[in-house]
Amino acid sequence: MSANSLQLCLLFSSALFCIGLTAALSRSNAILVLLGIELMLNAANINFIAFWRFGPTPAPATGVLFVLFSIAVAAAEAAVGLALVIAIYRHQKNIRLQEATSLKG
């Protein structure tokens, strides 16, 4: 039962990851790409929780703590990402990722 639950959880998180990846690759709006990335991050968080909840030796609250850190880092990351988006917007008057190619080698 527990193995199945783990598998279900992993399937769910994989689906979430794929959805996020698809969003990040197919959208040209930088904010929507950021959203996709958040989805992929959350898929990873779900994995943490699942492996902690269904793992062989569930140590007290390690998975939850890890995920809490991860969410905090994701929040900071989102702040930096949005700040970059605003900077890009100021620079080129839109936020289309295809046009933000000034780092081209």
């Binding site: 990846l21 990040a24 690759l25 790409v33 295809q98 190619t101 780092l103 080698g105």
Partner: protein
């Protein structure tokens, strides 16, 4: 009061001091320069007199004072002063004649702008000459000898803006240098053989019996004794300096200098240095006389050269038209007489003639200078004439000098000194030829001097400058008068009846006189010859004086080709120019070619070699080293370019690649069945 031998250096030092003061005097300091020169010369004269007194007290002694000049390893180079009657008489003569000539120069060069420099040079010359006289070392003598040559060069070329004077100065310097080379070689050989150059050094000196015996005992190339060979090399120096055949060519040209210079250097003193040198080293020259097996003796060569020079100078003097050149060739001839006397073994007769000649030849040259000065620098006797009236004092003194030179009997000094030489030549056992040459020169001397006096002082003036000539001031005539007195009086210290001078030179205190008419036959012959020369000159030139400057010389009318040859000095200059001059030019051309093609070629080859090495170096550097680095960095750059193509700047593409990579990673893990 006599002079201590240690202080003998004062005699040359005084004029040297005057020369250095003169060198520092600006051009405007005419009185200072002339004043110091004359005062120094007068002081040197007084010191020389005191030295003479000391020398006469002990005439046989060669007083010397030696000192070390510098040390070289274990050996030390020593110089010294020497005082004997020879040195003392010469010093007195040089300072006295020099003093009179200095005084004369103040008048003669009054209008020259380089007056101060002239007196500086004159003093330098006097210092060098006196240093040469007091030297007790052949080395010191050689140094002073060369300084005399330098002073002569400076003074002949004093009017260096005249090309002829500059050329004459060079000619004199180079010609005498040829002789000096011989002297230098002789000196080196002497030092190599004996280890000393001191004349007298308490038994060790080169003129003392032990050393001379050793030198005469060795033989060298051609069976000559070493002393003969060294003596001949030293004689080369005397040939150059005293204008002997075959190096006599420079002396007549030296007349381009101011006339007081001709009087002082090229008549009275410097040219006598060669005679003095041979008299000084006479023991060395005579060291081989006792040897029987040698091909010839050194003194035989001296006598031969002297006889040739005496005759040659007298012959050429007959055909000259320049007042100073006649006197110059007469000097050559008289120096030949002195060498002849040395060669036949009577060095005292040579020095006696040197002393009397110094006075009467200085007198003649200063008289000529007086004429030239009065006649606005006209020297051609064809353009002069009739000066007997306006220049009475000059005429009288010049006539006394002429009679002394010609050897007019009994009253004039030249007669006694020349008589001594002829007598010595008569007694020479080797060959009678020098005597014949001397007797022939007696006639010629009387003849050309009469010609000179007749052309210059008799007849009528033949040019504008001669018409307006007038007597010179006392500063010029007073020296003439004094010299004329000496030209007469000096003869009486060396007559056969009372040969005081010869005895003192020989180191004797007592005088052993013969009858005044010793060797009477020879004396009568010589008097007849003098009379013949004077009479011929009088008959040809004075009885019918030249009327115009273009009229033909009576001799030239009878023997034009001979006279032209004499006027051209028998072509010695042309001969030397055609042989030695051309040889030198050829050598120079050869050296030039050698330099231009051989040495220059070698250098060019080295340059090419250097260029080639540079080229190889550059090629290696550029193609191999630089090329390797260039290729390496090019590869790196193109690799970087390839990688940079991946940096599209598009965030999507990065993400896409990351995703594909992730998927591949997962697939590998899953399919590989790791763990």
């Amino acid at each position: 009061m006599t002079l201590p031998i240690q202080l003998l250096w004062v005699i040359p030092a005084l004029p040297l001091l005057a020369a250095s003061i003169g060198a520092l005097t600006p051009r405007s300091g005419r009185k200072l320069a002339a004043g110091t020169a004359i005062v120094a010369m007068a002081a040197a004269f007084l010191v020389s007199c005191s030295a003479l007194l000391g020398a006469l007290a002990e005439p046989a002694k060669h007083a010397f004072y030696n000192f070390a000049w510098f040390d070289l390893g274990a050996s030390s180079v020593r110089l010294g002063w020497l005082l004997d009657p020879l040195t003392a008489f010469m010093c007195v003569m040089v300072t006295f004649v020099g003093l009179l000539i200095f005084i004369f120069s103040t008048g003669y060069l009054r209008e020259d702008e380089n007056f101060a420099r002239f007196f500086c040079f004159l003093s330098l010359f006097a210092a060098a000459m006196l240093g040469l006289l007091v030297a007790n070392s052949l080395l010191l003598l050689f140094v002073c000898w060369e300084l005399v040559g330098l002073a002569s060069y400076l003074l002949i070329g004093f009017w260096f803006h005249k090309p002829a004077a500059a050329a004459a100065a060079k000619k004199a310097f180079i010609t005498t240098r040829i002789g000096d080379l011989g002297l230098l070689l002789g000196m080196l050989w002497l030092y190599d053989s004996t280890g000393s150059l001191l004349f007298y050094d308490a038994g060790q000196g080169i003129l003392e019996p032990d050393t001379l015996g050793a030198l005469a005992a060795q033989t060298t190339i051609g069976g000559l004794a070493v002393s003969t060979a060294i003596g001949l090399l030293v004689f080369c120096g005397a040939i150059g300096k005293s204008g002997q055949f075959p190096l006599q060519v420079w002396l007549p040209d030296a007349m381009e200098g101011p006339t007081p210079v001709s009087a002082l250097i090229h008549a009275a003193t410097m040219v006598a240095a060669g005679v003095f040198l041979i008299a000084r080293v006479y023991p060395l020259m005579a060291a081989d006389q006792a040897l029987a097996g040698v091909p010839f003796h050194a003194l035989t060569v001296v006598a031969g050269i002297g006889a040739i020079t005496a005759l040659l100078g007298a012959v050429i003097a007959v055909g000259q038209n320049d007042i100073k050149r006649v006197l110059a060739f007469s000097t050559v001839s008289q120096l030949g007489y002195m060498m002849l006397a040395l060669g036949v073994g009577s060095w005292t007769a040579a020095i006696f003639h040197l002393l009397t000649h110094a006075f009467f030849k200085a007198l003649l040259f200063l008289g000529a200078g007086s004429v030239i000065h009065a006649a606005h620098h006209e020297q051609d006797i064809r353009l002069l004439g009739g000066l007997r009236g306006p220049m009475r004092l000059t005429f009288l003194t010049f006539a006394i000098g002429t009679m002394a030179l010609a050897g007019v009997p009994f009253l004039f000094s030249g007669f006694w000194s020349k008589e001594g030489i002829l007598h010595a030549a008569h007694g020479w056992s080797v060959s009678p030829l020098p005597l014949y040459a001397g007797l022939a020169a007696v006639v010629l001397t009387a003849f050309y001097m009469t010609r000179l006096v007749a052309e210059v002082f008799f007849g009528s003036p033949r040019s504008h400058s001669a018409e307006h000539a007038h007597e010179n001031p006392a500063v010029m005539t007073a020296p003439l008068t004094l010299l004329a007195v000496c030209a007469v009086a000096l003869g009486f210290v060396g007559t056969p009846a009372w040969p005081w001078l010869q005895a003192r030179l020989n180191g004797q205190t007592a005088v052993y006189g013969h009858s005044l008419l010793e060797g009477g036959g020879l004396m009568i012959l010589s008097i007849v010859l003098v009379a013949l020369g004077l009479g011929a000159g009088w008959a040809i030139y004075a009885r019918r004086p030249r009327v115009s400057q273009t009229s033909v010389d009576p001799l030239a009318a009878n023997a034009p080709r001979l006279f032209a040859a004499l006027g051209a000095r028998l072509g010695f200059d042309e001969f030397y120019a055609a042989t030695f001059g051309r040889m030198t030019a050829a050598t120079a051309t050869f050296a030039d070619g050698l330099d231009r093609y051989v040495f220059d070629g070698a250098i060019r080859f080295l340059i090419r070699l250097g260029e080639f090495a540079g080229l190889v170096n550059r090629e290696t550097d550029e193609d191999l080293l630089n090329g390797g680095f260039d290729a390496g960095s090019e590869a790196l750059r193109s690799a970087g370019k390839g990688y940079s193509r991946a940096q599209t700047g598009d965030a999507h593409s990065y993400l896409r690649v990351a995703a594909i990579g992730f998927v591949l990673l997962v697939l590998i893990i899953m399919l590989g069945g790791l763990r």
